[in-house]
């Protein structure tokens, strides 16, 4: 029996291959780079061995003291909704409810249904109105809210969802959320506000949102309209630095420049791509294409 319903039937080794190119969160990566460069400038502690053994002795003594003093902590469960409180509906006044360690501010005339809740897995459906969610650190758990066929998956944040008959507005105050319609996922970060109506993604800003820009760029590529495609991809990269489609955008931009005969620009983009995504197999493809004289 497969370990996961979604991957039932898929070879586990294939699933493992999907980790190829996996990267740490951006903030962690920046920390590692900064730390490595700073430390590389400092002399090695082994150059000062008189520091090492006293430090080891001190650490051992501290460890022993900690072992003797520390008592096991019982796992603490936060209060969560009881079965009879799965549905919360407000009338004239707003209400704040607790779902485990998380808080939900339900606006007036709103209805929220909890479909799953344990200390680490929360899933709710916003059936009507508006709700503001303050989600605590998940530590590997999940917090998901569904509305009008849209699924908002939390990566530790504060966000607001508002639903009407056909559309759902998602606004992120802090952190990040992933919003998907079952086929595509869009990552929203602090300050983003988007309206999702059925399968059409629109934005409160006048420009197209990232995913729609990428789809449009691919459509232009299919029609051979490379110049507008290049403009759109550059606009995406400028608007969404480090965005979820950055690798695709950079890759296709490089190809398009090469096809337009702009080989120097294409080579520069290929170098940028390789720096940003050194483990991507596309980096090798770009090198091969440019060395062969272009796609």
């Amino acid at each position: 029996m497969s370990s996961s319903g979604e991957h039932s039937g898929m070879d586990p080794v294939e699933r493992l291959r999907a980790l190829s190119g996996a990267a740490p969160p951006d903030e962690a990566e920046r920390r590692m780079i900064r730390g490595a460069l700073e430390r590389a400038d400092q002399p090695s502690t082994l150059a000062r061995p008189w520091l090492v053994w006293p430090a080891v002795a001190l650490a051992a003594a501290a460890g022993l003291a900690l072992l003797l003093l520390r008592t096991p902590r019982p796992e603490k469960l936060s209060p969560i909704a009881a079965p009879q409180q799965q549905l919360r509906e407000t009338r004239q006044a707003p209400e704040t409810v607790a779902v485990g360690p998380h808080r939900v501010e339900l606006a007036a005339r709103s209805r929220l249904r909890l479909t799953r809740s344990d200390p680490r897995q929360v899933r709710a459906v916003l059936e009507r109105g508006r709700a503001r969610f303050a989600v605590q650190r998940l530590n590997g758990g999940s917090f998901e809210v569904e509305s009008n066929g849209i699924l908002v998956q939390v990566v530790g944040t504060r966000f607001t969802i508002e639903t009407t008959a056909d559309c759902t507005r998602v606004e992120v105050s802090e952190g990040r959320v992933s919003v998907s319609d079952g086929q595509h996922a869009v990552l929203l970060t602090r300050g983003d506000e988007r309206l999702f109506c059925s399968r059409v993604v629109s934005s409160s800003a006048s420009a197209l949102p990232g995913e729609a820009m990428m789809r449009e760029a691919m459509t232009l590529a299919g029609r051979g309209e490379l110049a507008p495609m290049v403009r759109l991809l550059e606009s995406y990269l400028s608007r969404y630095p480090g965005g979820v489609f950055e690798e695709d955008a950079l890759f296709h931009l490089c190809l398009a420049r090469a096809r337009l005969g702009q080989r120097e620009r294409a080579a520069e983009l290929a170098r940028t791509f390789e720096r940003r995504f050194p483990q991507s197999r596309r980096a090798e493809r770009l090198r091969d294409l440019l060395s062969e004289g272009g796609p």
Binding site: S3, H7, P12, V13, A18, P24, E29, S117, P119, N139
Partner: protein, 184 residues
């Protein structure tokens, strides 16, 4: 001059480029070799600092990846000894994802795969990780692990079988999740 030669000559921008282009890879190696995410950050930093300080020992750009991996192996082995010590002393940290994901399903999948890898012998994990995830060839892995190519091939076969067996035996994720009501 290639990147390694430029680093050896003391070129600061080359050293920065080495760190920036290798951080993700080294971090990923550490995580897949069983290091927790928080410690994997320390391991990755340690590997890169060591690499910069000992850059003169890297023979060429061609063997840079193999050389980096050997540094990573040593530091991961040291870290695992320390991690055992920490587990004796401290309450175990809750599990968390090591990589960036755009949705919770991606996170869950990563945690599952890492749990499966944790159940395999270390020597099988190395070969599986280097060939199936990192995409190195058998000969490249043989060079990195200082093993005959035939040994790498047989370990890969065993690793795949063992990984599939562990994955198949694991309970379905849906079955593991249960409603747990404090009020009950």
């Amino acid at each position: 001059m290639d990147l390694i030669e430029r680093c050896k000559s003391g070129d600061a921008s080359a050293q920065r480029e080495l760190v920036e282009t290798r951080t993700r890879q080294v971090y990923r190696w550490a995580v897949l070799l069983g290091v927790r995410p928080r410690e994997a950050e320390d391991v990755a930093q340690e590997v890169l600092v060591t690499a910069l300080r000992r850059i003169a020992r890297c023979r060429s750009q061609a063997v840079a990846t193999s050389w980096l991996y050997q540094i990573t192996r040593r530091i991961v082995a040291n870290q695992r000894r320390l991690a055992w010590f920490r587990r004796v002393l401290l309450t175990q940290e809750p599990e968390r994802a090591a990589f960036g994901h755009v949705n919770a399903r991606g996170m869950e999948e990563e945690l599952d795969l890492r749990r499966f890898l944790d159940r395999l012998p270390r020597k099988l994990v190395e070969v599986l990780m280097l060939m199936e995830v990192e995409g190195f060839t058998r000969d490249e892995v043989a060079e990195m692990l200082q093993l005959p190519a035939g040994t790498v091939a047989s370990r890969l076969r065993l690793a795949r079988e063992a990984f599939r067996a562990v994955a198949e035996r694991a309970p379905a994720r849906e079955a593991r999740q249960k409603l747990s009501w404090r009020a009950r």
